[in-house]
């Protein structure tokens, strides 16, 4: 119930004045004052993004440039993703792992003509910068501090953005282009965190507000806060670092092992490879799954999960209400034996066991061509 999150030691993004002007409710998030919602509200913002397009300020996230003789080969020492196999102009999802196969952060890596462009989580970025600086001494690691990051997401995102930069229509999902938008050089990846088609746009700090205002003036586009960003990614079945994945979960347990390519599975050579390779070969003892409560009550993070007989088997890592699903949705870890779709479970909400079932993710149909 705090309306004045901009007070205190919080950092602000280059769009802070715009958020305030748009009537956003600002909250502290990862050390930044960020808009959790605008006057339309989370429900309307969520549905707007699914139906048309929404503009998100994600400038709190970390952007990094890595250059050197062979930065892809070097980065593979820290991540299990196949970075060497990434074609120039393509983007890939991967994770920084630790020696026990746990996840230090998850990130997007784009291979550009002469370097790698990374986007990492806000809450982990200082730790990631340090990890890269010490782990990649054969490369130059440059945090990009002079650029903001906007996400334009939704089925009409391409229509709106193409009015300023026609070239983006031809950019495939999980691909990259450098384009001029209203005279400003932008790094654009066709990707996102909503389960929709869309773009992430890296723009110089001093042009960020002007570009955001231009995009918001498009008829398809409205501003969207972190509240809807969370409900959108949950419906899309996407992990939130620090909640669904952390240093105690491996990519295999988290059901994101699809992001570990064939060569890396065979060769290893990343932190925690032995643990992860063993889990890939034998199967993990627990798995992250989607869960649908059968009633209307949302089951929030840390809600205990029991089997049908009432024994506690795990806990919810993200849960809430899915506006597009129009019902409660959640994800959490359960023993592999209980991970099959439709397995009955119970969620203990405020002391009451409520019936639920394992559900396939995403909870809503993905609508991008990948």
């Amino acid at each position: 119930m705090d309306n004045s999150a901009a007070a205190g030691d919080l950092k602000t993004t280059p769009l802070n004045d715009l958020h305030v002007a748009l009537g956003a409710r600002m909250v502290p998030f990862a050390g930044y004052a960020m808009p959790v919602q605008y006057p339309a509200g989370i429900l309307a913002e969520h549905l707007q993004t699914r139906a048309q397009a929404g503009l998100f300020d994600v400038s709190h996230m970390g952007q990094v440039r890595i250059s050197g003789a062979d930065p892809a080969r070097s980065l593979e020492r820290l991540v299990p993703g196949d970075i060497m196999g990434l074609e120039p102009g393509r983007t890939r999802y991967t994770q920084f792992t630790n020696e026990t196969g746990g996840i230090l952060d998850d990130l997007m890596v784009t291979r550009r003509a002469g370097d790698l462009f990374l986007v990492v989580n806000a809450g982990c970025k200082e730790q990631d910068f340090a990890l890269l600086a010490t782990g990649l001494r054969d490369c130059a690691v440059e945090p990009i501090l002079d650029r903001a990051l906007l996400a334009l997401q939704g089925p009409a995102a391409v229509t709106a953005l193409a009015r300023y930069a026609p070239a983006v229509s031809a950019v495939a999902f999980m691909s990259y282009a450098e384009v001029d938008i209203a005279g400003v050089r932008c790094f654009v990846t066709r990707s996102g965190y909503t389960g929709e088609d869309g773009f992430e746009i890296s723009v110089p700090n001093d042009a960020a507000e002007r570009l955001a205002r231009l995009l918001l003036a498009e008829p398809e586009v409205k501003p969207i806060g972190l509240g809807a960003r969370d409900s959108l990614r949950l419906e899309a079945g996407l992990c939130l670092y620090g909640h669904d994945i952390d240093t105690t979960t491996t990519p295999v347990e988290a059901a994101i092992a699809w992001s570990i390519g064939k060569r890396r599975r065979a060769e290893g050579g990343f932190p925690g490879a032995a643990v992860i390779q063993k889990q890939l070969a034998e199967g993990p003892t627990r798995k992250r799954v989607g869960i649908r409560p059968e009633g209307r009550a949302p089951a929030r993070e840390h809600t205990p999960i029991t089997d049908a007989a009432g024994a506690i088997v795990g806990e919810i890592t993200s849960g809430g209400f899915g506006p597009t699903v129009n019902g409660p949705i959640a994800m959490g870890y359960v023993p592999t034996a209980l991970a099959k779709t439709d397995t009955p479970l119970q969620l203990v909400v405020r002391g009451k066991p409520l019936p639920a079932r394992v559900a396939a993710m995403p909870f809503t149909a993905k609508r991008y061509a990948s």
Binding site: G41, I42, H46, A228, R296, A297, P298, F321, P328
Partner: protein, 125 residues
């Protein structure tokens, strides 16, 4: 003639004789945002002043609704199960939560009246 009182946690209570209706204020529903679920107590449950009377869930989070005064639950608003957004649309009316039979009407004196609550909300900025 009924009178309405408020808590610092933004519940309201409208008293008629020794029974009362409890809900959350317009300020509270606005702060919560879109209400998607309300967990109501069973009729017959006894609640102490400040005890949990209900839980209201928005897209973002779950929040407790506390009993402004002690009493026994004699009714719950079943309309909220099918249409939880009533709390947003009509917080002071159709969006009520529970009806209580008061155990100690003297506790009402500790609550704010309309004018005091309006000042309190103004002070929150």
């Amino acid at each position: 003639m009924s009178e309405i009182r408020y808590t610092k946690d933004h519940e309201w209570i409208r008293v008629e004789g020794d029974t009362a209706t409890v809900g959350i204020s317009d300020y509270a529903q606005n702060q919560l945002g879109d209400v998607v679920f309300v967990d109501l107590p069973d009729v017959g449950k006894k609640v102490a002043k400040g005890g949990e009377a209900a839980v209201v869930e928005s897209v973002k989070a779950a929040s407790e609704v506390y009993a402004p005064v002690g009493g026994e639950v004699i009714g719950a608003n079943d309309q909220l199960s099918g249409d939880p957004a009533l709390v947003n649309r009509d917080p002071m009316g159709e969006g009520w939560f529970v009806k209580l039979k008061l155990s100690n009407p003297a506790e009402l004196a500790e609550l704010m009246d309309e004018a005091a609550y309006a000042d309190f909300v103004k002070g929150l900025g």
